[in-house]
């Protein structure tokens, strides 16, 4: 449940912060990994991830020296990345599929939402109910997440952006989507920090009147992540990114104030 938008933000980040932050050994590594990714990604990925091994460097620019010539290599890298856009499939429930990028038009924000947004953005800390394979995870900044599965095609150190959330909130306010919040309203980045496995499970399978006992073994592996930031964008940021304020559609009151 990640999107290409992350790449866009990465590249924009990089263009903004001039230190291109990647020494050539890392680009080399990136290219190696890139080939590996392309080889395996013939079948369309279910959860499209932004697998870039050097993204710990690019999302938050590392303490690296500025070498201007690596910029071009990076651009090429990101352009190859955008090739695999998620597609809708019929055999999988819609909430388990990756969201296609919906950036054909600038984000439309209703007037009341724009008025309420400073309340939410001004109250820290924030939490997000991010959905991953239709499973909700309540995350705050710095949380340690152990996914109940092994996420394919991610490497240790990758940064992913969760773009499907059912709610983003602070203590008193909650931004709810129907069913999902627009991904341009918030930012939730996680970093893959490794793969862990559970202790070996041994299940004894017995059948009646048979002396033989079959033992079934299982040892699952899980992806471990760390939430880097959970952020709600403020109205100024949204307007800077080209948000369009529209009139409200519904006549129902937007604020359900409870005493």
């Amino acid at each position: 449940m990640f999107s290409r938008s992350v790449l866009r933000s990465f590249t924009s980040d990089l263009r903004l912060t001039a230190p291109s932050s990647i020494a050539s050994p890392f680009t080399q590594r990136a290219c190696l990994h890139q080939t590996a990714l392309l080889r395996t990604s013939q079948q369309q990925p279910q959860s499209s991830t932004s697998t870039s091994p050097d993204s710990p460097l690019s999302a938050t620019p590392r303490a690296q020296s500025s070498i201007p010539e690596t910029q071009t290599g990076l651009k090429g890298f990101s352009s190859t990345q955008t090739q695999d856009t998620p597609q809708i499939r019929n055999d999988i429930p819609i909430e388990k599929q990756p969201l296609p990028p919906t950036f054909t038009s600038p984000i439309e924000v209703s007037k009341t939402l724009m008025e309420q947004l400073p309340h939410l953005a001004g109250q820290k800390p924030h939490y997000v109910v991010a959905e991953l394979h239709a499973r909700p995870f309540l995350l705050t900044e710095g949380d340690h997440v152990r996914l109940p599965f092994l996420m394919p095609k991610v490497k240790t150190g990758d940064i992913l952006r969760f773009n499907r959330a059912s709610a983003v909130g602070s203590r008193d306010f909650t931004l709810k989507g129907s069913p999902h919040v627009d991904e341009r309203l918030f930012e939730c980045r996680v970093r893959v920090i490794g793969v862990e496995s559970e202790p070996l499970r041994i299940k004894e399978k017995t059948k009646r009147r048979q002396r033989h006992t079959k033992t079934a073994k299982s040892k699952h592996r899980y992806t471990i992540m760390r939430v880097m930031d959970v952020k709600v964008k403020s109205p100024e940021e949204l307007l800077k990114e080209g948000a369009v304020v529209v009139e409200d559609k519904g006549d129902s009151p937007q604020v359900e104030t409870r005493s």
Binding site: H119, G122, P125, R171, D172, T174, G250, V255, E256
Partner: protein
Amino acid sequence: MATSLIVPKRPFLTLPFLLPSWSDSLSLGTRRYQSSYRRTKQRLRVKPDASFGSSQQVGDHIIHNPPSSAPSVYHTPNKFLPSNDARKAMRTQASAGYNATELPNVHKVEAERKYHLNPSDIEEIRKLRLADPMMWSRHKLAKRFECSPLFIAMVCEASAEKKQIQKQVLEAVQSRWGPKRRMAREDRQLRRAAWGRDE
């Protein structure tokens, strides 16, 4: 008291854990024992708050739903916000559901302060306290000069002999404490110190 005034906003029928569960009573005839697990599970099945259900509104929207929990210290009270802070203007309509003037005080209402003692009185208090510390204790002086014992303590100090005597009295009392009482007293002091660290 305040508790008697406070009732849940929801009607009783919407709180399923307050009602006897019908399935339990039906199954009594067939089953011998009620499963305690099932009972607790059923009692705990409280509906989530209405604000967290699916709402009919289309599009992203923000709701105001303050939690049922003790306030956090990171949220500065409105009065403490500096005047140039943007949040001060935002938080005007927040109301707590009770009127501060109607709530009962923790302490009884303090007597009006009189400020009637003049320097000569204070001199006299000091003189009396030094002259006969056993006779003129803080309380007696307070009664005589119609002020609080705290004020007496602020004005003058007991003589060294009196302090020594008081210390000996305290030691004599404490020497008669058994281990239980001593430990209870120490625990109380530790708990008291823990308040300051907010533990």
